[in-house]
């Protein structure tokens, strides 16, 4: 896990604790709780309550549940309506443009004030890799896909690099607020919110904070304020050791089962749709191996970096994980044993193949330290594995096996 995604309600909790205005509301996991929260909001004078499913996916509003129920975001005028919609969505599985056909089961809802929105903007903080500095992106076009705006109307996006040692200065935040078209008092409201969003990004070790839409909303007395109506945060997993509170927000329901399993063994595994599984040491070599499989007409079933040491335990766990993918027709092991003894790796591969009663064709390409002994161990193992001397040869052989 290189970065951890948060739910909208979790993102809003972090933002609120850094001084960012967010619509009032609470998460819940039952329809009765949803009704209670909604009753509280209506009693406080809200005319509308919004009910939003909490899954790690964009396009929730336009998603369709597997039973035909439409939309993962609903505006409700009564607590009864909230209860009914919550009941329809909780436990149900929704398909959005980002979930894939399998969809995502809904476990949590956010019940929040339905704000009167006057205007919508976009705001994000992320790393600018060209300058190695924080980058704030703001756009007058909010509530829409920012990548689309970047393509069709790039002038609508304002970008600001922040000096990380100075931090965001108040005048810079005011300039951004003005660039969004805010005027009068709203410049100050907007600047305060932008400063809070930047602070959240910095202090939480976020990879990305995205507010879309950032809104001018109308209060009951007709006055206006700026609020983060939707929010998305992902956090640098390498920094979670200093954010115990954020680490606890991890929702394993949102992560692919095999990827969670792999992470227990320090394996970096990403499931793909092809039929050729691969086990490789090193991220770059793992990507290059996938590319070689594709180059010779196959489709990789996964990305899997077994790490620098490729211990027997890790290789066994790696075999077990790739074998759980029913699409896999053949396996390629590609190890460049640099410091490691290739014979140790070969023994690990043999032990893992035996422990998992491997029946699928297995192509092994070993290179590096003590490779002759390693190849002999493989040849003498009694396993029906296929050896290869180069990556190209290995990729060709495994693709032939997978498509046979």
């Amino acid at each position: 896990m290189e970065e951890m995604n948060l739910h909208e309600y979790q993102a809003k909790q972090l933002l609120a604790s850094h001084g960012v205005e967010v619509p009032g509301g609470q998460p819940c996991t039952t329809a009765d709780e949803a009704r209670n929260i909604a009753e509280g909001l209506f009693a406080a004078g809200q005319e509308m309550v919004v009910l939003k499913i909490q899954i790690h996916s964009g396009g929730r509003g336009k998603g369709v549940f597997k039973d035909g129920f439409k939309g993962g975001v609903h505006l409700c005028k009564s607590a009864d309506d909230v209860h009914e919609k919550a009941k329809a969505m909780l436990g149900n599985t929704i398909v959005t443009k980002q979930t894939g056909e399998a969809g995502r089961q809904v476990h949590t809802l956010l019940v929040a004030s339905g704000e009167k929105i006057v205007d919508e903007f976009y705001l994000a903080v992320l790393l600018d890799r060209e300058t190695s500095q924080p980058l704030i992106m703001a756009s007058r076009e909010g509530g829409v896909d920012i990548e689309e705006v970047a393509e069709t109307n790039p002038d609508a996006i304002v970008k600001l690099n922040v000096d990380p040692l100075l931090g965001l200065q108040p005048y810079q935040a005011r300039n951004l607020a003005k660039a969004l078209g805010l005027s009068g008092k709203l410049i100050h409201h907007g600047a305060k919110l932008i400063a809070g969003v930047y602070k959240t990004w910095w202090e939480c070790d976020a990879s990305m904070v995205e507010i879309n839409p950032l809104c001018i909303v109308e209060n009951a007395d007709g006055s206006q304020k700026i609020a983060a109506v939707d929010a998305k945060i992902s956090v640098d997993a390498n920094a979670l050791y200093r954010h115990k509170d954020i680490a606890e927000m991890r929702d394993l329901n949102e992560e692919a089962e095999l990827e969670v399993e792999a992470s227990k063994y320090d394996l970096n595994y990403i499931k793909l749709d092809g039929s050729v599984a691969c086990l490789v040491n090193g991220a770059g070599l793992a990507m290059a191996t996938m590319d070689a499989i594709k180059h010779y007409g196959g489709d990789p079933a996964n990305f899997l970096d077994v790490g620098g040491s490729a211990s027997t335990e890790q290789v066994t766990a790696a075999f077990q994980i790739v074998l759980k993918d029913p699409n896999v027709k053949a396996i390629l092991v590609n190890i460049f044993g640099g410091i490691m003894n290739c014979n140790t790796i070969a023994e690990g591969v043999v032990a893992a193949a035996e422990a998992t009663h491997l029946k699928l064709p297995l192509v092994v390409r070993l290179e590096g330290n003590n490779v002759a002994a390693g190849r002999k161990t493989l040849a003498d193992s009694g396993l029906t594995l296929i050896g290869a001397d180069s990556m190209a040869e290995a990729a060709q052989k495994v693709v032939a096996e997978a498509t046979a």
Partner: protein, 296 residues
Amino acid sequence: MAILVKPDTKLLVQGITGSFGARHTQLSIEYGTQVVAGVTPGKAGQKFQDTVPIFDGVAEAARETGATASAIFVPPPFAADAILEAIDAGLELVVAITEGIPVRDMIEVKAAINGSATRLIGPNCPGVVTPGTDKDSHGGCRIGIAPGYIHKAGDIGVVSRSGTLTYEAVWQLTCNGLGQSTCVGIGGDPVPGSTHLDIIKLFNDDPDTRGIIMIGEIGGSAEEEAAAWIKENCKKPVAGFIAGTTAPPGRRMGHAGAIISGGKGTAEAKIAAMEDAGISVAETPSQMAEALIKIL
């Protein structure tokens, strides 16, 4: 004869007493690297393998031993501090091997290093090797974790974001009889101390480097920036390879920096920029040396 380090470069190791740091320091010493000091706060006066003196801090270690380069094996929560300490001590070269340093820490380090005399390589990298002329390329300078014996002294420069993929390229060169001037792993993080372009410029100016292999991967635009510069300025033949043609957008492929986001950082765009710059791009990772040989 090489860039960044030579066989007589005096190296200190920060985190020399950790198991990973100790193991690779030993391998570097066996390779012939001049490891003159170790740094582990609180362990001053002790010796590594009964020979290398250990100091509490980088400044005193450098002052006492004349070390000009540092290898950092310090665990991630303390690694940024270790890098800053090495910069403050005025070392010429700092090679950070540590994987998993928070991005925010590296943003601060990168800001602090601006205007300093220090060049940072890494983090999350295999390090730097200038091969020697003895058996298995011993007698050279090895900083980091690369296997020494795959190298061979020669005149090809290698720069890469990946570890094992670098070894693959180096081994292909060595098997084809082509030695290396220096091999530099710049690391797979989104905030690297040095970029492909920084290293390519050094190779371009190095009279003993004849040709260059540049290995990149998805994410960011460092390869495009290097390609644009190579097109206008590089006097030497360059071959390359980009990993990640089959990587799905929006997923980090092992390396923190290997991600296609917002349609940016694709292998296709990088390969196109490299081909436009006249770089010989290998179609498969098995053909990296071959791609260079045909333009030498």
